[in-house]
Amino acid sequence: MGNLKLSFFLAYKSIIKGNRWTLSMIILVMSLSFANLILIPSLLSGVTEAINGQQIDTVYANIVISPNPDKTYLNHVSQIENKLSQQSGVIGVAAHLNSGAFFEYNWLQKTSPQDKSQTGNWNVIGIDPEQEIQVTTLHSSLIAGSYLETGDRDKIVLGIEIAGGEDASTLSSLTLGGAKVGDRVRLTFSNSVQREYTLKGIFKARSLSANTLAFISRNEMASVLNTVTEVSVFADRASQLLVRTEKGVDETQLISDIKNLGIDGQVRSWRDYGETMGGVVSSFDIMGSLIGSIGLLVAAIVMFIVIYINVVHKKRQIGILRAIGINRSVIYGSYLIQSFLFAILGIVIGGLFFGYGLMPYFKSYPIDLSIGLVSLVIDPVNVRNSIGGILVAAVLAGIIPVVNIVRQSIIKAIWGN
């Protein structure tokens, strides 16, 4: 019988006839270590996905088309919208016409022009409500009033961090201080046009950046901007076009396809467009890698201790095997096979526990964080690294103590010194 077969024979007998309790403990540790290795990064991936989801749902959609750097607006927007709508995988397109504005609330009660309370500077976005509903979900995050409708001209919808009040998380002095549905708000746009609007609705999304947005109808915004240039030009202009895609669409491919349409503008994924949020997501990715590495190290140490104790208990047996002339490579091979098998069993059982226990649980009961509902998201690269890590850790944990024992004198090993 060759050395490898003999190693397999000894490993097989050791596992079959070894202490069941020890075997169970080793496999349990392996399984939990593996599940833990996947769990934490998956949770962080879940957080990342929740943040991404919120940004897509409330602010950017999936793809953003913006003017080239030398221009302020996209022109001939209706043509672009038509082209985009015909693209496979596109659910909806929404044109945004933006302007900065100075907001005032309760301005009639103020006695001095120096009184800046209940005011602030925010971005106002002109939208076509019917288009917007297909692209973002803010209409379903209203906590008061109702959403804009086509034809609304003197109506405005505000994010909670602009309106202020008890539900806002921003300091009251940095909001309008509690504007309510039906109240009047005065806006002075960046082109000095001043108009008053009735607050039609207040929304509160899970994304803080979304909650600092204000919406009026696109027609209204066009009329605001038209006052300083040619009439009706702004009706077919946009500051951005947001493109919502179907789930599972290859965004990179779709962006490439849209670029091929010859649109005079920049076509980017929301991630490239909203670089700030991309940075947050990258930080989570780095954190995930860091925690994953620490998890692997801890798992390796735990496995090392468990397997080491098991091997040390067999010190005398290793000494006897050497005394009767069994080759060292057979002994190494035997323990290597055992460790490898423990790791494989740990990966399989841990994987099953994760896949059929933790995943469905988190799917049914996601964690309700302020950034959104967080469930587990498996990253195949992380799973592959975890499998590799567990195997390497198990092999090292199995072989190092055996090498130490085999390097001792046979007599010491037999007498257990």
């Binding site: 006839k17 070894g18 007599i411 037999i414």
Partner: protein, 224 residues
């Protein structure tokens, strides 16, 4: 014909002021087919001598020849192969592998050497010789201490070694079991001309052996 020749064998544990001289220069010849007992008080160096002869440990100085081969010049791997093919061991404490059956324990050393299944038949024959044919599928914890020691003897013989070393093989056995083991050694020696070197501290074991080598303080006291 000398199967073992030992020349000025010394073993020192530790260094300097803490050095302990276990063997102070042993010179000894053992004939092929001889059954030799190494006896002496505790600490006399008898087990140390056996370990050195069995290539389980290295001496501080001296030479060991087995069939005129200087076995101290063997590398680690060569030494393991030599132990496997040429030497057999029976240890003081039960030394069977707990996860293997009695039969598997006996043929384990033969698994490394033989590609055919003859090792199994050889192991069964040996178990018949030591009277354990009915216990071959039992595990070590299912048989008595005496039976484990007899299985150890069978294991030590499976590769037909030139020399069988036994380190106080009856120390942990009751009187009846010890007698069975010693009778077995005598039978192997007489019937198969097996060379046996046995360490013992029991004076009555003398009756089973051809010769006794007495050790005292790491030196041979006299040859009886």
């Amino acid at each position: 014909m000398n199967i073992i020749r030992i020349n000025n064998l010394q073993k020192v544990y530790g260094q300097g002021l803490t050095a302990t001289y276990a063997l102070k220069g042993i010179t000894l010849d053992i004939q092929q087919g001889e059954f030799v007992a190494i006896m002496g008080r505790s600490g006399s160096g008898k087990s140390t001598l056996l370990h050195l002869l069995g290539l389980l440990d290295l001496p501080t100085a001296g030479e060991i020849f087995i069939e005129d081969r200087n076995v101290l010049k063997l590398s680690g791997e060569e030494s393991a192969a030599f132990r496997l093919k040429e030497l057999g061991y029976v240890f003081q404490e039960y030394s069977l592998i707990a996860e293997l059956t009695i039969l598997e324990n006996v043929y384990l050393p033969a698994l490394c050497l033989h590609k055919d299944k003859q090792y199994r038949n050889r192991a069964i024959e040996l178990l018949e010789i030591v009277g354990l044919q009915d216990r071959m599928n039992h595990y070590p914890n299912e048989v008595s201490g005496g039976e484990q020691q007899r299985a150890s003897i069978a294991r030590s013989l499976v590769n037909q070694p030139k020399i069988l070393f036994a380190d106080e093989p009856t120390a942990n056995l009751d009187g009846a079991s010890a007698e069975v083991v010693l009778e077995l050694f005598r039978k192997l020696n007489q019937d198969l001309k097996q060379t046996i070197v046995m360490v013992t501290h029991e004076p009555e074991d003398k009756k089973y052996v051809d010769r006794v080598v007495w050790l005292k303080d790491g030196l041979i006291e006299n040859l009886a």
